[in-house]
Symmetry: C2
Subunit: 699 residues, 2 copies
């Protein structure tokens, strides 16, 4: 290994323990410390180290992560850990001013440790306060210091038992009573109970509740957020009129208390309406500066798209953890071999490389996307705070909304499939709970659903792209967006005429190849989608029916390929920029090419069908390129994992430990299991024998 490029990294980069992974580490083509510094910078690496070692050194954070605890115990532990985080207070406001990425890093570091904890932190503070900060009345800013000192704890209550995706159909009401200058919050029946509210089950004292606003006379003005106290902060007992409870066990995230609430004519002051998009005067007159309810509604829910950007990072984090475990396992697990008595690491098998290395590349590519999209979001929010009403700001908002709405589906599905592949690639040992792949799968799963079901969200992105067509572009007329993600559509007709033209396998090993193919794919599916919609409308379908019938094979894949293109493009540009240190260039470009080609391979059928590819050679060339890149990357895989893996304490997987002592670690952990070698407490049950057939039914 080459000497490290800087002097101060010794404390940042303790050497790995020697062991079975040494062989792969020695064969790596690059210095992992150099890559870590290039990707993250010393400042971020230092923050990560602080968070990780703080958790490791505080006994309250000693595992178990929840397996062997009852629901009540796990929730208590998570609450206590959350409280302890206030004492550790990892980030000051000044840290965030200096580098806004630090908040993303903090969330993902906590998530690497335990998503129940990380989610509880986010939901009770950021999500609650953002709703107030972004759409609130200044009077309500009083809540901010209270939340940051844990005097109160917040939550955001939007979905109801019978309504999730279709938020407009939310049925909780808020009637204004001018006599007392109060709103009366009410749930008409249990189907309108607020449901799935994170941190509401046992903890939250205050909620931002979305309800239909009615003024005297009975006119409804649509959905608005209200701040409502639901529990007494001294006793955690519900306040009168509020029935609040815990939903019980979920597939994962059981340290987090998701809850429900019904309101029985609960009165709250007029000022508790979060009034950015509309307000009610003391006398009961509704006022707004929006032209119509649709526009107002969009603005009031706009703040939700920040959550989607955050979820992209959560998914990438899960994918990283899974590939770290599976690749360290694969580099140390030996099975079969070329000769009798010789066994080789399963990572040496082409099939194992093909199963896992694309997900390693995806973790790197999506990580870059996640960070860059987060910075785009910061730019947007800065504009909002500066009250920027320029058309660029509006366009930026639309573009980020489109990227986040398909970015969340792409990232969550990629992580979901990747974790499953990693689980299977570790065979039986991957099925042991202690190795964590089950938890990762169970805790990544809700990312596919919350803040908008993936399939529903994708429509936002395809609508954005189809909207560009209707607004004049693409093809001929100007098509430009602040982040340039749709600028290529200016060349729409020319792109549709392009064909797959790659001379050799060597030429195919660059992400320029999938990049070009993806541009064609987006244009092709954009045209297909528009044609399908037009055809449906011509044959008399309503707009609703036409859109419904264009999803499966047109609009849905359109949104996904557009996002894949964007991820490939951003990672291509990042890895091909002049600033990449020369020793890292080849490596990063391989990762970029592998992600691009592998991702593209889901769409080969369309490339052929639409005429971009023809003949056997094109398809085979792309397959060979994927396998060749896997072969080129397999000796770097362990070092690439070292760059993204958290310390063993955080990764918390015996088969994924940095020393690579797979069996020693696993065996030790099994023997340390509670009662592993003890006789079952119910052994006398075995001694008393059943009378066979004594209860056999006489049918």
């Amino acid at each position: 290994m080459a000497p490290t490029p800087e002097g101060s990294e010794d404390t940042l980069f303790p050497d790995f323990p020697r062991g079975p992974l040494q062989a792969y580490r020695a064969r790596a083509s690059f210095n992992w410390k150099e890559l870590a510094l290039f990707l993250e910078g010393e400042d971020i690496l230092r923050l990560k180290k602080t968070i990780f070692s703080t958790l490791e050194n505080d006994p309250l954070f000693a595992h178990p992560r929840g397996h062997d605890l009852s629901l009540e115990q796990y929730r208590e532990l998570t609450f206590r850990r959350h409280k302890r985080l206030f004492e550790h207070n990892f980030l000051h406001p000044s840290d965030l001013q200096q580098n806004p990425l630090k908040s993303l890093v903090l969330v993902n570091c906590l998530g690497m440790y335990d998503w129940s904890l990380a989610s509880k932190v986010i939901l009770s503070t950021s999500v609650f306060l953002s709703a107030i900060y972004n759409s609130g009345f200044e009077r309500l800013f009083e809540y901010i210091p209270k939340v940051f000192s844990m005097e109160i704890s917040g939550c955001l209550a939007l979905t109801e038992l019978s309504h999730g995706s279709d938020t407009k159909a939310i049925r909780t009401t808020a009637h204004y009573d001018p006599a007392t200058e109060e709103f009366i919050l009410h749930s008409p029946d249990f189907e309108a109970a607020k449901f799935w509210v994170g941190n509401m089950g046992k903890t939250a004292t205050h909620a931002v509740v979305f309800a239909q606003l009615y003024t005297p006379g009975g006119q409804c003005h649509g959905l608005f957020p209200f701040v409502v106290q639901i529990r007494d902060p001294k006793t955690l007992l519900p306040v009168p009129g509020v029935m609040v409870g815990d939903m019980g066990r979920k597939i994962g995230l059981n340290g987090l208390d998701n809850g429900f609430a019904m309101f029985h004519k609960v009165r709250i002051p007029r000022q508790n309406l979060l009034n950015q998009t509309g307000d009610v005067t003391p006398e009961g007159t509704y006022v707004t500066h929006f032209k119509d309810d649709r526009q107002r509604f969009g603005a009031s829910l706009g703040s939700l798209s920040a959550s989607r950007v955050c979820i992209v990072g959560m998914c990438v984090t899960n994918l990283k953890l899974a590939v770290c475990i599976a690749l360290r396992f694969s580099a140390t697990r030996r099975q079969f071999g070329p000769a009798e008595g010789e066994e080789i690491p399963v990572l040496e098998y082409q099939l194992q490389q093909w199963r896992l290395l694309p997900y390693l590349a995806a973790a790197y590519a999506l990580d870059h996307f996640s960070k860059s999209l987060f910075l785009d979001l910061m730019q947007l929010q800065q504009g909002l705070r500066g009250d920027d009403r320029s058309s660029r700001q509006v366009e930026l908002g639309r573009e980020i909304h489109a990227l986040a709405s398909a970015g969340k589906p792409l990232a969550s599905w990629t992580a979901q499939r990747g974790i499953q592949e990693c689980r299977e690639a570790c065979g039986g040992h991957g099925y042991l709970a202690m190795n964590r792949l089950g938890d990762l799968r169970n805790e990544n799963d809700p990312n596919c659903t919350y803040e908008g079901d993936n399939n529903v969200l994708l429509q936002q992105t395809s609508n954005y792209l189809l909207g560009l067509l209707e607004r004049g572009g693409p093809g001929g007329t100007r098509c430009e967006s602040p982040l340039k993600s749709v600028n290529f559509l200016e060349a729409y007709p020319a792109i549709l005429r392009q064909r797959f033209e790659v001379a050799s396998l060597q030429d195919c090993l660059d992400s320029a190849v999938p990049l070009a193919a993806y541009e064609w794919l987006v244009c092709y599916l954009l045209r297909e989608s528009q044609q399908k919609l037009n055809q449906e409308r011509k044959s008399g379908s309503s707009d609703f029916a036409a859109r419904s019938r264009a999803q499966a094979y047109c609009c849905r894949p359109l949104a996904l390929v557009f996002l894949e293109l964007t991820v490939v493009r951003r990672f291509h540009e990042y890895t091909h920029q002049p600033g990449v240190p020369p020793p890292l260039q080849a490596l990063l470009r391989r990762l970029s090419a592998l992600y691009g080609l592998w991702s593209l391979s889901q769409h080969t059928a369309l490339l052929y069908r639409g005429g971009y590819c023809s003949g056997e050679r094109a398809g085979k060339l792309m397959e060979s390129a994927v396998l060749e890149l896997c072969a080129q990357l397999k000796d770097d895989a362990v070092a690439l994992v070292d760059v993204i893996a958290p310390p063993d304490f955080i990764l918390d997987s015996p088969i994924g430990r940095a020393d690579g002592e797979l069996y020693r670690n696993l065996w030790a952990a099994v023997l340390q299991g509670s009662g592993a070698l003890e006789r079952a407490s119910w052994w006398p049950e075995f001694a008393s024998k059943p009378v066979v057939g004594s209860l056999r039914s006489q049918l």
Copy 2:
């Protein structure tokens, strides 16, 4: 609904409670009772009813299935339920003689209730006894009545900590000592500990242990099974020399105690060698009627393939449960609609149909495959018992091995993906543990791994097909197998010249279309695989390396498409046979066509690349056919679910109950949750506030 076709089914088919699902039930094109009778027959339906109502009426089987129990409690409960099953004794040997499918039905009925219980039943009895019965010495038949009276409890110990797939590398030894006429069983180190043995963790008293047999002088004769006592049946304490323990929590199946064991020079009588394939004389001479160890090894492991057939059924059962839950949810969950204030069931959306109905069709197609393969296996086992050594019997064994080795991967992956899609299709409510989709996913997961990792097993099937080529066929020479699954290969060259020729959408709505395409696909991939292997060998690769490099894009998909073809073919023939009652013909053919076309759509890229399809029309026609079949089937979906759904008590999912009262059932179950409305026991923790930043690290 038409009148029911027979008179006696009233007790078999109680009417469903009226409720929100009524609308779909009324629109069904067929009588669900007629379909149930046609598919299963009255006898099987009666057995199912007996099992299900027995469990429902016995308080020991009252839920919870395990969520809120500690590991120890869940294992105790599962043990007690297992013991109770001896008393219920659902099947007599005479039942099985009359209809061997009944044993498959029993396993799957128990599995529908709880896979921990079903697995414990199978592992402790059938798997243990099959090993003895199929390869044992008659003296050991004494164990059979002891197992059936629960005097002892068995397990099968093959895999070790460091070896699973590569069974030849198992390291436990059995040295023969002629002085005492005993074998000395020994684990050289902890990496050779038996690992993952189901029922061994806390319960088993006896194990069939696979070990390398050594005769005096130190010659090794390969892997043999031995019967070894590991615990005292009176006390459940380990016998001296055996260290046996529990592996701890797994991702699922936690009512089942998987265990490990190390042997320290444990002496067992010579007769405890299961000697069907080889034996040791009292003096210590090894004798066998097999020519070489490879042949012997194959015969000794042959009995394992029965497990794979059984697992196919387990996967289908899981898929059935998941689609039942997701489709009843989709038929009652309303969201959005064509007009303001109008909401339609999400099942009305084409996208939701496209996500779920193919898995419903897959459940039907794979269920038929599972049953027919099980009957094929019974035929094989009958021959084995009759000591049939004909070449047809040998060929039958090979063919079933090939079908089971890829059938298990196909069924387990289809179920895995199907359950995931169902989970997501139920949105947030699908993430609530009580709705069971998480359990189904977690408990189907090991089907991808045990009895052979899916990717490793697929090689057995591709080797079988490639072996046919080497043995003269296909193409010109005779190619025939007892079950006729490879007979089409006789027309290999002609099939490769065939092209997709479908005149209209109407013509595309029959499974004959995917059947023809699949035959072409198998031939194409067979040729591709052979060419790839030859090319690798020509360029100097070893056989090991050549096979490794032909997996990802040749042999692996070859095995899968061959199995998909077989499933499509069998279901096509079943649904097109003259015996299908006329009112069911159109329905069953739609299911067959949908499964075939949807499954085929994974391979459209190859169909184009290899020239079977060309132009845009072919691909679009297949897509339109899938959507058209979904539209035709959506009004039948609820009735199709009624045919395969177990009673509510067994399905155990509030959102999947037969009355369709989605929200009432869910709300009731949430409110009944333990402590749902209670204040957290740890509320005083909230009252004492953290000192913010007091522990902040001073880096």
